[in-house]
Subunit: 204 residues, 2 copies
Amino acid sequence: MARLPVYLRALTTLSEAGTTVCSSEDLAAAAGVNSAKLRKDLSYLGSYGTRGVGYDVDYLRYQIAREMGATRDWPVVIVGIGNLGHALANYSGFRSRGFRVVALLDADGQRHGEVVAGVVVRPFSDLRAIVREHGVAIGVIATPAAAAQDVADQMVDAGISSILNFAPTVLNVGAEIAVSKVDLSKELQVLAYHEQRKATQETA
Amino acid sequence: MARLPVYLRALTTLSEAGTTVCSSEDLAAAAGVNSAKLRKDLSYLGSYGTRGVGYDVDYLRYQIAREMGATRDWPVVIVGIGNLGHALANYSGFRSRGFRVVALLDADGQRHGEVVAGVVVRPFSDLRAIVREHGVAIGVIATPAAAAQDVADQMVDAGISSILNFAPTVLNVGAEIAVSKVDLSKELQVLAYHEQRKATQETA
DNA sequence: CTCGTTTTGTTCTCGCGTTCACAAACTCCT
DNA sequence: AGGAGTTTGTGAACGCGAGAACAAAACGAG
Ligand SMILES: NC(=O)c1ccc[n+]([C@@H]2O[C@H](COP(=O)([O-])OP(=O)(O)OC[C@H]3O[C@@H](n4cnc5c(N)ncnc54)[C@H](O)[C@@H]3O)[C@@H](O)[C@H]2O)c1
Ligand SMILES: NC(=O)c1ccc[n+]([C@@H]2O[C@H](COP(=O)([O-])OP(=O)(O)OC[C@H]3O[C@@H](n4cnc5c(N)ncnc54)[C@H](O)[C@@H]3O)[C@@H](O)[C@H]2O)c1
Protein backbone atom coordinates (compact mmCIF):
# COMPACT_ATOMS: atom_id res chain seq x y z
CA MET A 1 0.00 0.00 0.00
CA ALA A 2 2.73 2.42 -1.00
CA ARG A 3 0.15 4.46 -2.88
CA LEU A 4 -1.88 5.59 0.10
CA PRO A 5 0.41 8.58 0.76
CA VAL A 6 -0.08 9.69 -2.83
CA TYR A 7 -3.85 9.50 -2.48
CA LEU A 8 -3.67 11.38 0.77
CA ARG A 9 -1.69 14.17 -0.82
CA ALA A 10 -4.08 14.36 -3.77
CA LEU A 11 -7.03 14.55 -1.38
CA THR A 12 -5.37 17.34 0.57
CA THR A 13 -4.81 19.26 -2.65
CA LEU A 14 -8.44 18.79 -3.65
CA SER A 15 -9.65 19.80 -0.22
CA GLU A 16 -7.58 22.97 -0.30
CA ALA A 17 -9.09 23.76 -3.68
CA GLY A 18 -12.53 23.68 -2.05
CA THR A 19 -13.69 20.33 -3.45
CA THR A 20 -15.95 18.45 -1.03
CA VAL A 21 -16.84 15.42 -3.17
CA CYS A 22 -14.89 13.71 -5.91
CA SER A 23 -15.24 10.66 -8.13
CA SER A 24 -12.64 7.94 -8.39
CA GLU A 25 -11.83 9.28 -11.87
CA ASP A 26 -11.01 12.73 -10.51
CA LEU A 27 -8.91 11.43 -7.67
CA ALA A 28 -7.13 8.93 -9.89
CA ALA A 29 -6.20 11.70 -12.31
CA ALA A 30 -4.89 13.84 -9.46
CA ALA A 31 -2.84 10.95 -8.11
CA GLY A 32 -1.64 9.82 -11.51
CA VAL A 33 -3.02 6.27 -11.41
CA ASN A 34 -5.73 4.16 -13.03
CA SER A 35 -9.21 4.69 -11.56
CA ALA A 36 -9.90 0.96 -11.22
CA LYS A 37 -6.71 0.52 -9.24
CA LEU A 38 -7.65 3.41 -7.01
CA ARG A 39 -11.10 1.98 -6.28
CA LYS A 40 -9.66 -1.43 -5.53
CA ASP A 41 -7.08 0.08 -3.21
CA LEU A 42 -9.77 2.01 -1.36
CA SER A 43 -12.03 -1.02 -1.14
CA TYR A 44 -9.37 -2.74 0.98
CA LEU A 45 -9.86 -0.06 3.61
CA GLY A 46 -13.64 -0.31 3.55
CA SER A 47 -16.59 1.17 1.70
CA TYR A 48 -16.16 4.86 2.13
CA GLY A 49 -17.75 6.00 -1.14
CA THR A 50 -21.33 6.44 -2.27
CA ARG A 51 -22.36 4.88 -5.57
CA GLY A 52 -23.56 7.37 -8.11
CA VAL A 53 -21.94 10.20 -6.13
CA GLY A 54 -18.29 9.59 -5.27
CA TYR A 55 -16.16 10.07 -2.19
CA ASP A 56 -16.44 12.74 0.48
CA VAL A 57 -12.99 14.30 0.32
CA ASP A 58 -12.48 15.10 4.00
CA TYR A 59 -14.07 11.88 5.25
CA LEU A 60 -11.93 9.73 2.95
CA ARG A 61 -8.87 11.72 3.85
CA TYR A 62 -9.43 11.03 7.51
CA GLN A 63 -9.96 7.33 6.89
CA ILE A 64 -6.76 6.98 4.87
CA ALA A 65 -4.81 8.97 7.43
CA ARG A 66 -6.11 6.74 10.20
CA GLU A 67 -5.24 3.57 8.30
CA MET A 68 -1.72 4.85 7.64
CA GLY A 69 -1.08 5.91 11.18
CA ALA A 70 -0.86 9.53 10.11
CA THR A 71 -3.28 10.70 12.76
CA ARG A 72 -0.64 10.45 15.45
CA ASP A 73 2.77 12.10 15.68
CA TRP A 74 5.82 10.00 14.94
CA PRO A 75 9.05 11.01 16.63
CA VAL A 76 12.07 10.72 14.33
CA VAL A 77 15.84 10.95 14.81
CA ILE A 78 18.22 12.00 12.04
CA VAL A 79 21.81 10.74 12.18
CA GLY A 80 24.50 12.50 10.13
CA ILE A 81 23.95 16.22 9.95
CA GLY A 82 25.96 17.03 6.82
CA ASN A 83 24.60 18.48 3.60
CA LEU A 84 21.68 16.14 3.39
CA GLY A 85 20.99 16.03 7.11
CA HIS A 86 20.63 19.81 7.18
CA ALA A 87 18.17 19.77 4.30
CA LEU A 88 16.10 17.04 5.94
CA ALA A 89 16.06 18.78 9.31
CA ASN A 90 14.85 21.96 7.64
CA TYR A 91 12.20 20.22 5.58
CA SER A 92 8.77 21.41 6.63
CA GLY A 93 7.02 18.62 4.74
CA PHE A 94 7.91 16.11 7.43
CA ARG A 95 6.41 18.09 10.25
CA SER A 96 3.21 18.80 8.33
CA ARG A 97 2.71 15.08 7.76
CA GLY A 98 3.05 14.09 11.35
CA PHE A 99 6.77 13.49 11.70
CA ARG A 100 8.52 15.35 14.49
CA VAL A 101 12.31 15.53 14.48
CA VAL A 102 13.14 14.99 18.15
CA ALA A 103 16.92 14.75 17.77
CA LEU A 104 19.80 15.40 15.39
CA LEU A 105 22.87 13.24 16.00
CA ASP A 106 26.37 13.39 14.57
CA ALA A 107 29.66 11.71 15.39
CA ASP A 108 31.65 14.84 14.59
CA GLY A 109 32.25 16.84 17.80
CA GLN A 110 32.59 20.04 15.78
CA ARG A 111 28.91 19.94 14.98
CA HIS A 112 27.65 19.37 18.51
CA GLY A 113 25.71 22.31 19.87
CA GLU A 114 24.86 23.67 16.46
CA VAL A 115 21.17 24.46 16.17
CA VAL A 116 19.41 23.35 12.98
CA ALA A 117 15.72 24.10 12.50
CA GLY A 118 15.36 24.74 16.22
CA VAL A 119 16.91 21.43 17.25
CA VAL A 120 20.39 21.15 18.74
CA VAL A 121 22.90 18.66 17.29
CA ARG A 122 23.97 16.10 19.89
CA PRO A 123 26.55 13.29 20.06
CA PHE A 124 25.67 10.02 18.40
CA SER A 125 26.19 8.27 21.71
CA ASP A 126 23.02 9.90 23.02
CA LEU A 127 20.98 7.72 20.67
CA ARG A 128 19.88 5.14 23.19
CA ALA A 129 18.74 7.67 25.76
CA ILE A 130 16.81 9.68 23.17
CA VAL A 131 15.07 6.65 21.75
CA ARG A 132 13.98 5.58 25.21
CA GLU A 133 12.92 9.05 26.27
CA HIS A 134 10.76 9.83 23.23
CA GLY A 135 9.74 6.32 22.22
CA VAL A 136 11.33 6.78 18.82
CA ALA A 137 10.54 4.04 16.30
CA ILE A 138 11.85 5.63 13.10
CA GLY A 139 15.46 6.58 12.35
CA VAL A 140 16.95 8.35 9.34
CA ILE A 141 20.53 7.64 8.21
CA ALA A 142 22.28 10.47 6.35
CA THR A 143 25.88 9.53 7.08
CA PRO A 144 28.52 8.47 4.57
CA ALA A 145 28.14 4.93 3.29
CA ALA A 146 31.04 3.63 5.36
CA ALA A 147 29.28 4.50 8.62
CA ALA A 148 25.76 3.45 7.64
CA GLN A 149 25.89 -0.20 8.70
CA ASP A 150 27.32 0.67 12.09
CA VAL A 151 24.72 3.37 12.64
CA ALA A 152 21.97 0.95 11.61
CA ASP A 153 23.20 -1.69 14.06
CA GLN A 154 23.20 0.76 16.90
CA MET A 155 19.76 2.04 15.94
CA VAL A 156 18.36 -1.46 16.06
CA ASP A 157 20.14 -2.06 19.32
CA ALA A 158 18.59 1.07 20.77
CA GLY A 159 15.11 -0.10 19.85
CA ILE A 160 14.41 1.57 16.52
CA SER A 161 12.37 -0.66 14.22
CA SER A 162 12.12 1.35 10.99
CA ILE A 163 15.02 2.91 9.10
CA LEU A 164 15.12 5.32 6.18
CA ASN A 165 18.56 5.00 4.61
CA PHE A 166 20.07 7.61 2.29
CA ALA A 167 23.54 6.10 2.19
CA PRO A 168 24.29 4.00 -0.90
CA THR A 169 24.70 0.71 0.97
CA VAL A 170 22.64 -2.40 1.46
CA LEU A 171 21.96 -2.63 5.18
CA ASN A 172 22.07 -6.00 6.90
CA VAL A 173 19.44 -5.99 9.61
CA GLY A 174 16.95 -8.45 10.99
CA ALA A 175 13.81 -9.20 8.99
CA GLU A 176 11.66 -7.56 11.67
CA ILE A 177 13.24 -4.19 10.89
CA ALA A 178 11.66 -2.24 8.02
CA VAL A 179 14.27 -0.54 5.86
CA SER A 180 13.53 1.93 3.11
CA LYS A 181 16.42 2.99 0.92
CA VAL A 182 16.53 6.18 -1.11
CA ASP A 183 19.27 6.25 -3.71
CA LEU A 184 19.32 9.51 -5.61
CA SER A 185 22.20 8.50 -7.89
CA LYS A 186 20.20 5.48 -8.92
CA GLU A 187 17.30 7.67 -10.02
CA LEU A 188 19.60 9.75 -12.17
CA GLN A 189 21.25 6.69 -13.60
CA VAL A 190 17.89 5.28 -14.62
CA LEU A 191 17.11 8.54 -16.40
CA ALA A 192 20.50 8.43 -18.11
CA TYR A 193 19.75 4.88 -19.19
CA HIS A 194 16.58 6.04 -20.89
CA GLU A 195 18.43 8.87 -22.58
CA GLN A 196 21.04 6.40 -23.74
CA ARG A 197 18.39 4.10 -25.19
CA LYS A 198 16.66 6.98 -26.92
CA ALA A 199 19.96 8.00 -28.50
CA THR A 200 20.86 4.51 -29.71
CA GLN A 201 17.37 3.91 -31.08
CA GLU A 202 17.51 7.07 -33.13
CA THR A 203 20.77 6.08 -34.76
CA ALA A 204 19.39 2.60 -35.52
CA MET B 1 16.22 -2.51 -15.44
CA ALA B 2 16.25 -0.30 -12.40
CA ARG B 3 18.60 -2.75 -10.69
CA LEU B 4 21.61 -2.19 -12.93
CA PRO B 5 22.85 0.77 -10.85
CA VAL B 6 22.74 -1.43 -7.76
CA TYR B 7 24.79 -4.12 -9.47
CA LEU B 8 27.23 -1.52 -10.67
CA ARG B 9 27.73 -0.21 -7.17
CA ALA B 10 28.18 -3.72 -5.77
CA LEU B 11 30.77 -4.47 -8.44
CA THR B 12 32.65 -1.30 -7.64
CA THR B 13 32.72 -2.26 -3.97
CA LEU B 14 34.00 -5.74 -4.82
CA SER B 15 36.61 -4.33 -7.16
CA GLU B 16 37.88 -1.95 -4.50
CA ALA B 17 38.13 -4.89 -2.12
CA GLY B 18 40.52 -6.54 -4.58
CA THR B 19 38.13 -9.17 -5.94
CA THR B 20 38.75 -9.96 -9.62
CA VAL B 21 36.20 -12.72 -10.17
CA CYS B 22 32.88 -13.35 -8.46
CA SER B 23 29.98 -15.77 -8.76
CA SER B 24 26.39 -14.72 -9.21
CA GLU B 25 25.80 -15.79 -5.61
CA ASP B 26 28.44 -13.41 -4.30
CA LEU B 27 27.27 -10.50 -6.37
CA ALA B 28 23.62 -11.16 -5.58
CA ALA B 29 24.40 -11.12 -1.87
CA ALA B 30 26.30 -7.85 -2.22
CA ALA B 31 23.43 -6.30 -4.15
CA GLY B 32 20.74 -7.71 -1.89
CA VAL B 33 18.83 -9.68 -4.52
CA ASN B 34 18.18 -13.28 -5.52
CA SER B 35 20.96 -14.90 -7.56
CA ALA B 36 18.56 -16.26 -10.19
CA LYS B 37 17.17 -12.79 -10.73
CA LEU B 38 20.66 -11.37 -11.05
CA ARG B 39 21.69 -13.93 -13.66
CA LYS B 40 18.54 -13.33 -15.61
CA ASP B 41 19.11 -9.58 -15.57
CA LEU B 42 22.69 -10.00 -16.76
CA SER B 43 21.66 -12.41 -19.49
CA TYR B 44 19.64 -9.61 -21.11
CA LEU B 45 22.86 -7.69 -21.64
CA GLY B 46 24.71 -10.64 -23.09
CA SER B 47 26.82 -13.56 -21.93
CA TYR B 48 29.59 -11.96 -19.95
CA GLY B 49 30.20 -14.79 -17.48
CA THR B 50 32.10 -18.05 -17.68
CA ARG B 51 30.33 -21.23 -16.58
CA GLY B 52 32.00 -22.95 -13.72
CA VAL B 53 33.99 -19.79 -12.92
CA GLY B 54 31.84 -16.71 -12.57
CA TYR B 55 32.08 -13.13 -13.75
CA ASP B 56 35.20 -11.00 -14.22
CA VAL B 57 34.43 -8.05 -11.97
CA ASP B 58 36.02 -5.26 -13.98
CA TYR B 59 34.87 -6.58 -17.33
CA LEU B 60 31.28 -6.94 -16.16
CA ARG B 61 31.43 -3.54 -14.56
CA TYR B 62 32.46 -1.97 -17.81
CA GLN B 63 29.73 -3.78 -19.74
CA ILE B 64 27.00 -2.66 -17.34
CA ALA B 65 28.31 0.89 -17.33
CA ARG B 66 28.29 0.94 -21.11
CA GLU B 67 24.73 -0.41 -21.27
CA MET B 68 23.55 2.20 -18.80
CA GLY B 69 25.24 5.08 -20.53
CA ALA B 70 27.46 5.62 -17.52
CA THR B 71 30.63 5.72 -19.59
CA ARG B 72 29.92 9.25 -20.74
CA ASP B 73 29.36 12.41 -18.75
CA TRP B 74 25.81 13.68 -18.39
CA PRO B 75 25.37 17.41 -17.89
CA VAL B 76 22.65 18.24 -15.35
CA VAL B 77 20.90 21.44 -14.26
CA ILE B 78 19.39 21.88 -10.80
CA VAL B 79 16.49 24.31 -10.40
CA GLY B 80 15.60 25.62 -6.94
CA ILE B 81 18.67 26.16 -4.79
CA GLY B 82 17.06 26.04 -1.35
CA ASN B 83 17.81 23.51 1.38
CA LEU B 84 17.58 20.52 -0.86
CA GLY B 85 19.18 22.18 -3.88
CA HIS B 86 22.24 23.02 -1.80
CA ALA B 87 22.60 19.45 -0.61
CA LEU B 88 22.26 18.08 -4.13
CA ALA B 89 24.77 20.56 -5.55
CA ASN B 90 27.27 19.54 -2.88
CA TYR B 91 26.72 15.84 -3.34
CA SER B 92 29.89 14.20 -4.58
CA GLY B 93 28.11 10.97 -5.49
CA PHE B 94 26.66 12.55 -8.61
CA ARG B 95 29.98 13.63 -10.02
CA SER B 96 31.61 10.30 -9.30
CA ARG B 97 28.88 8.52 -11.27
CA GLY B 98 29.21 10.64 -14.36
CA PHE B 99 26.80 13.47 -13.64
CA ARG B 100 28.19 16.97 -13.99
CA VAL B 101 26.21 19.87 -12.54
CA VAL B 102 26.62 22.53 -15.22
CA ALA B 103 24.19 25.07 -13.78
CA LEU B 104 22.25 26.03 -10.66
CA LEU B 105 19.13 28.08 -11.31
CA ASP B 106 16.79 29.92 -8.96
CA ALA B 107 13.97 32.40 -9.40
CA ASP B 108 14.97 34.33 -6.28
CA GLY B 109 17.24 37.24 -7.22
CA GLN B 110 18.74 37.20 -3.73
CA ARG B 111 20.43 33.94 -4.50
CA HIS B 112 21.96 34.93 -7.83
CA GLY B 113 25.71 35.10 -7.76
CA GLU B 114 26.04 32.82 -4.76
CA VAL B 115 28.59 30.08 -5.38
CA VAL B 116 27.62 26.56 -4.33
CA ALA B 117 30.07 23.70 -4.81
CA GLY B 118 32.03 25.81 -7.26
CA VAL B 119 29.04 26.66 -9.44
CA VAL B 120 27.41 30.08 -9.46
CA VAL B 121 23.64 30.41 -9.03
CA ARG B 122 22.02 32.02 -12.07
CA PRO B 123 18.53 33.29 -12.94
CA PHE B 124 15.98 30.72 -14.00
CA SER B 125 15.53 32.58 -17.26
CA ASP B 126 19.00 31.43 -18.34
CA LEU B 127 17.65 27.89 -18.63
CA ARG B 128 17.20 27.83 -22.39
CA ALA B 129 20.66 29.22 -23.13
CA ILE B 130 22.34 26.77 -20.74
CA VAL B 131 20.51 23.77 -22.12
CA ARG B 132 21.52 24.70 -25.63
CA GLU B 133 25.11 25.50 -24.72
CA HIS B 134 25.83 22.30 -22.80
CA GLY B 135 23.40 19.95 -24.51
CA VAL B 136 21.67 19.24 -21.21
CA ALA B 137 19.18 16.37 -21.29
CA ILE B 138 18.52 15.91 -17.56
CA GLY B 139 16.96 18.45 -15.19
CA VAL B 140 16.42 18.30 -11.44
CA ILE B 141 13.49 20.13 -9.80
CA ALA B 142 14.00 21.13 -6.16
CA THR B 143 11.53 24.01 -6.01
CA PRO B 144 8.38 24.21 -3.89
CA ALA B 145 5.49 22.15 -5.21
CA ALA B 146 3.62 25.19 -6.46
CA ALA B 147 6.38 26.07 -8.91
CA ALA B 148 7.22 22.54 -10.05
CA GLN B 149 4.77 22.23 -12.94
CA ASP B 150 5.81 25.57 -14.38
CA VAL B 151 9.49 24.71 -14.09
CA ALA B 152 8.84 21.34 -15.74
CA ASP B 153 7.01 22.97 -18.65
CA GLN B 154 9.86 25.36 -19.26
CA MET B 155 12.41 22.56 -18.99
CA VAL B 156 10.59 20.57 -21.65
CA ASP B 157 10.29 23.69 -23.75
CA ALA B 158 14.01 24.28 -23.48
CA GLY B 159 14.73 20.76 -24.73
CA ILE B 160 15.23 18.72 -21.57
CA SER B 161 13.89 15.19 -21.93
CA SER B 162 14.41 13.65 -18.47
CA ILE B 163 13.31 15.16 -15.17
CA LEU B 164 14.06 14.19 -11.59
CA ASN B 165 11.35 15.74 -9.43
CA PHE B 166 11.66 16.24 -5.68
CA ALA B 167 8.55 18.38 -5.31
CA PRO B 168 5.49 16.50 -4.05
CA THR B 169 3.43 16.99 -7.21
CA VAL B 170 2.41 14.84 -10.13
CA LEU B 171 3.90 16.48 -13.20
CA ASN B 172 1.90 16.63 -16.40
CA VAL B 173 4.31 16.27 -19.28
CA GLY B 174 4.33 14.52 -22.62
CA ALA B 175 4.83 10.76 -22.71
CA GLU B 176 8.20 11.19 -24.42
CA ILE B 177 9.59 12.87 -21.30
CA ALA B 178 10.93 10.54 -18.61
CA VAL B 179 10.00 11.69 -15.13
CA SER B 180 11.32 10.21 -11.91
CA LYS B 181 9.74 11.37 -8.69
CA VAL B 182 11.37 11.15 -5.30
CA ASP B 183 9.00 11.66 -2.40
CA LEU B 184 10.76 11.52 0.93
CA SER B 185 7.59 12.03 2.96
CA LYS B 186 6.07 9.05 1.21
CA GLU B 187 8.95 6.85 2.31
CA LEU B 188 8.50 7.89 5.91
CA GLN B 189 4.75 7.42 5.71
CA VAL B 190 5.20 3.88 4.44
CA LEU B 191 7.46 3.17 7.39
CA ALA B 192 4.92 4.68 9.75
CA TYR B 193 2.27 2.47 8.18
CA HIS B 194 4.32 -0.61 9.00
CA GLU B 195 4.83 0.60 12.55
CA GLN B 196 1.13 1.18 12.84
CA ARG B 197 0.37 -2.32 11.62
CA LYS B 198 2.89 -3.85 13.98
CA ALA B 199 1.27 -2.01 16.87
CA THR B 200 -2.29 -3.02 16.00
CA GLN B 201 -1.28 -6.66 15.45
CA GLU B 202 0.31 -6.85 18.87
CA THR B 203 -2.82 -5.64 20.59
CA ALA B 204 -4.91 -8.13 18.63
C1' DC C 1 41.10 -38.38 -21.92
C1' DT C 2 37.29 -38.90 -18.80
C1' DC C 3 34.65 -37.95 -14.96
C1' DG C 4 33.10 -35.06 -11.15
C1' DT C 5 32.41 -30.32 -9.69
C1' DT C 6 31.13 -25.76 -10.21
C1' DT C 7 28.51 -22.11 -12.07
C1' DT C 8 26.21 -19.91 -15.88
C1' DG C 9 22.20 -19.26 -19.03
C1' DT C 10 17.48 -20.48 -19.74
C1' DT C 11 13.05 -22.68 -19.40
C1' DC C 12 9.02 -23.32 -16.82
C1' DT C 13 5.79 -22.55 -13.31
C1' DC C 14 3.64 -19.89 -9.88
C1' DG C 15 1.73 -15.91 -7.68
C1' DC C 16 0.72 -11.20 -7.53
C1' DG C 17 -0.80 -6.86 -9.11
C1' DT C 18 -3.17 -4.44 -12.77
C1' DT C 19 -6.92 -3.75 -15.61
C1' DC C 20 -11.35 -4.70 -17.77
C1' DA C 21 -16.00 -5.13 -17.30
C1' DC C 22 -20.30 -5.35 -15.08
C1' DA C 23 -23.80 -5.70 -11.47
C1' DA C 24 -25.38 -3.23 -7.46
C1' DA C 25 -26.58 1.05 -5.50
C1' DC C 26 -27.55 5.78 -5.29
C1' DT C 27 -29.35 10.45 -7.17
C1' DC C 28 -32.14 13.25 -9.78
C1' DC C 29 -35.63 14.32 -12.98
C1' DT C 30 -40.11 13.70 -14.70
C1' DA D 1 -43.00 6.24 -8.10
C1' DG D 2 -40.24 4.90 -11.87
C1' DG D 3 -36.71 5.25 -15.12
C1' DA D 4 -32.38 7.32 -16.82
C1' DG D 5 -27.88 8.37 -15.70
C1' DT D 6 -23.72 7.93 -12.72
C1' DT D 7 -20.40 5.92 -9.97
C1' DT D 8 -18.82 2.50 -6.68
C1' DG D 9 -17.27 -2.15 -5.43
C1' DT D 10 -15.67 -6.51 -7.05
C1' DG D 11 -15.22 -10.89 -9.85
C1' DA D 12 -12.53 -12.55 -13.50
C1' DA D 13 -8.94 -12.44 -17.10
C1' DC D 14 -4.56 -10.94 -18.29
C1' DG D 15 0.31 -10.01 -18.15
C1' DC D 16 4.58 -9.73 -16.01
C1' DG D 17 8.16 -10.47 -12.92
C1' DA D 18 10.22 -13.67 -9.38
C1' DG D 19 12.03 -17.87 -8.10
C1' DA D 20 12.88 -22.84 -8.65
C1' DA D 21 14.96 -26.13 -11.35
C1' DC D 22 17.74 -27.99 -14.86
C1' DA D 23 20.69 -28.49 -18.99
C1' DA D 24 24.91 -26.76 -21.10
C1' DA D 25 29.59 -25.44 -20.55
C1' DA D 26 33.97 -24.77 -18.44
C1' DC D 27 37.58 -26.32 -15.28
C1' DG D 28 40.56 -29.52 -12.70
C1' DA D 29 41.99 -33.98 -10.84
C1' DG D 30 43.34 -38.42 -11.71
N1 LIG E 1 23.97 15.39 -0.27
C1 LIG E 1 23.10 14.78 -1.03
O1 LIG E 1 22.35 15.42 -1.77
C2 LIG E 1 23.00 13.31 -1.05
C3 LIG E 1 22.22 12.74 -2.02
C4 LIG E 1 22.09 11.36 -2.05
C5 LIG E 1 22.73 10.59 -1.13
N2 LIG E 1 23.49 11.15 -0.20
C6 LIG E 1 24.11 10.29 0.78
O2 LIG E 1 23.78 10.74 2.06
C7 LIG E 1 24.88 10.58 2.91
C8 LIG E 1 25.26 11.91 3.50
O3 LIG E 1 25.57 12.83 2.48
P1 LIG E 1 26.06 14.28 2.83
O4 LIG E 1 26.27 14.98 1.55
O5 LIG E 1 25.15 14.89 3.83
O6 LIG E 1 27.48 13.96 3.49
P2 LIG E 1 28.27 14.86 4.54
O7 LIG E 1 29.66 14.38 4.51
O8 LIG E 1 28.00 16.29 4.26
O9 LIG E 1 27.61 14.53 5.94
C9 LIG E 1 27.83 13.33 6.62
C10 LIG E 1 27.71 13.59 8.11
O10 LIG E 1 27.69 12.34 8.80
C11 LIG E 1 28.47 12.46 9.97
N3 LIG E 1 28.97 11.14 10.37
C12 LIG E 1 29.99 10.44 9.83
N4 LIG E 1 30.12 9.26 10.46
C13 LIG E 1 29.17 9.20 11.41
C14 LIG E 1 28.81 8.23 12.37
N5 LIG E 1 29.44 7.05 12.45
N6 LIG E 1 27.79 8.50 13.19
C15 LIG E 1 27.13 9.65 13.10
N7 LIG E 1 27.43 10.62 12.21
C16 LIG E 1 28.44 10.39 11.36
C17 LIG E 1 29.58 13.39 9.58
O11 LIG E 1 30.13 14.02 10.74
C18 LIG E 1 28.87 14.39 8.67
O12 LIG E 1 28.34 15.46 9.41
C19 LIG E 1 25.98 9.97 2.08
O13 LIG E 1 25.96 8.58 2.27
C20 LIG E 1 25.59 10.28 0.69
O14 LIG E 1 26.04 9.31 -0.20
C21 LIG E 1 23.62 12.52 -0.13
N1 LIG F 1 14.50 19.87 2.18
C1 LIG F 1 14.24 18.57 2.08
O1 LIG F 1 14.89 17.75 2.72
C2 LIG F 1 13.18 18.07 1.19
C3 LIG F 1 12.83 16.76 1.29
C4 LIG F 1 11.86 16.25 0.45
C5 LIG F 1 11.26 17.06 -0.45
N2 LIG F 1 11.58 18.33 -0.56
C6 LIG F 1 10.92 19.13 -1.57
O2 LIG F 1 11.88 19.78 -2.32
C7 LIG F 1 11.45 21.06 -2.65
C8 LIG F 1 12.45 22.08 -2.18
O3 LIG F 1 12.62 21.96 -0.79
P1 LIG F 1 13.55 22.96 -0.01
O4 LIG F 1 13.52 22.55 1.40
O5 LIG F 1 14.85 23.03 -0.69
O6 LIG F 1 12.75 24.33 -0.18
P2 LIG F 1 13.34 25.80 -0.13
O7 LIG F 1 12.19 26.71 0.08
O8 LIG F 1 14.48 25.85 0.81
O9 LIG F 1 13.94 26.04 -1.57
C9 LIG F 1 13.16 26.26 -2.70
C10 LIG F 1 13.97 27.11 -3.68
O10 LIG F 1 13.26 27.17 -4.93
C11 LIG F 1 13.33 28.50 -5.43
N3 LIG F 1 12.20 28.71 -6.33
C12 LIG F 1 10.90 28.97 -6.02
N4 LIG F 1 10.16 29.09 -7.12
C13 LIG F 1 10.99 28.92 -8.17
C14 LIG F 1 10.80 28.96 -9.57
N5 LIG F 1 9.60 29.15 -10.11
N6 LIG F 1 11.86 28.76 -10.36
C15 LIG F 1 13.07 28.55 -9.82
N7 LIG F 1 13.32 28.49 -8.50
C16 LIG F 1 12.28 28.71 -7.68
C17 LIG F 1 13.28 29.35 -4.21
O11 LIG F 1 13.85 30.62 -4.47
C18 LIG F 1 14.12 28.55 -3.21
O12 LIG F 1 15.47 28.90 -3.28
C19 LIG F 1 10.09 21.22 -2.05
O13 LIG F 1 9.11 20.93 -3.02
C20 LIG F 1 10.06 20.19 -0.99
O14 LIG F 1 8.77 19.71 -0.77
C21 LIG F 1 12.55 18.86 0.25
